[in-house]
Symmetry: C2
Subunit: 154 residues, 2 copies
DNA sequence: ATACAACTTAAAGTTAACTTTAAGTCAATA
DNA sequence: TATTGACTTAAAGTTAACTTTAAGTTGTAT
């Protein structure tokens, strides 16, 4: 099965210009052309584009993805480099998830904060609370917020 | 206690130019000036900047943060808007964490994949595996990867 | 009084990852 | 064969969130 850039863009729900851009940046060096110069995508190219999408999700830049693709092109001799790169990305994602969970905890606390403020009609109600008045699940975020959110009635 | 832009930038570990930029964008309308025009930060302004940093962590743009700050300036009458905004950010973060956890699962699988390939000396080893050969914790990611990563020996 | 580091502004520059535009070519259909 | 929609390229434009530059001012220390 052969696809044009428009067809594959449609299937992957990305813009044709994006795929042409990836091509220009060397992310899909294996895509063949017709005698007239039109890109002819095979199913395996389609799959490569899925991989690129996946790697983007891991926070890799276009340049890093190109490095990875180049290594893939070289075959089994680059397995250890690829492994190291994947492990690096894994560490990055782990750190990001940790950071996001802290942010989520703060937002959970703030949601409760505004629910309480809404009921009372004022944010000032929170000045009257001490640690024991805060629901346990929000206490850690509360301690972090105390210094600025609460002092400033935000 | 009063701080200059350089002092506060140092304390928050951000560039002075960033703080000036935030000022220009209306994120810190409450900061006062000396008769000569120099910004004079108070401790509460310092705290506001901490809040801005926190909101940025939630993925809010400068424009959205400005909206939020403007609402804060208006006082208790904007509590419900602020609550809605925080709840919206919470939903966004929740979705992002979910996405990241899927990506992490894929990277965990890929780490195992390359460890195995490294031992075997080739990625082709994975063509010989069927679902039961994959460690259980990687099976979901394996099913997603099967279509493209494995077929292409990546 | 003078030096000098740190402040001020407006405006231009940076970066990544695209997107748009313009001018032209290809290939399928009437 | 002519039309037409989708393709091609190079180059310029876009966006957000800063950063840098240039020219000038402030305020503290000697």
């Amino acid at each position: 099965m052969i696809y044009t850039v428009g067809e594959i863009a449609n299937k992957l729900n990305i813009a044709p210009s994006t795929i042409r851009y990836y091509d220009k940046e060397g992310l899909i060096p294996f895509v063949e052309r017709s005698s007239g110069g039109i890109r002819m995508f095979k199913d395996s190219d389609f799959e490569w584009l899925s991989i690129i999408e996946c790697l983007k999700q891991t926070g890799m830049s276009i340049k890093e993805i190109k490095t990875f693709i180049d290594w893939c092109m070289q075959g089994d001799e680059t397995i250890s480099q690829r492994k190291a790169l994947i492990e690096k990305q894994r560490e990055i994602i782990l750190e990001q998830i940790k950071q996001m969970q802290e942010t989520l905890a703060m937002l959970d606390y703030k949601t409760w904060y505004y629910e309480t403020a809404e009921k009372a009609g004022t944010c000032k109600i929170h000045e009257t609370f001490s640690e024991e008045d805060i629901p346990e699940e929000f206490r850690d975020a509360y301690k972090r917020a105390k210094g600025y959110f609460i002092k400033n009635n935000i």
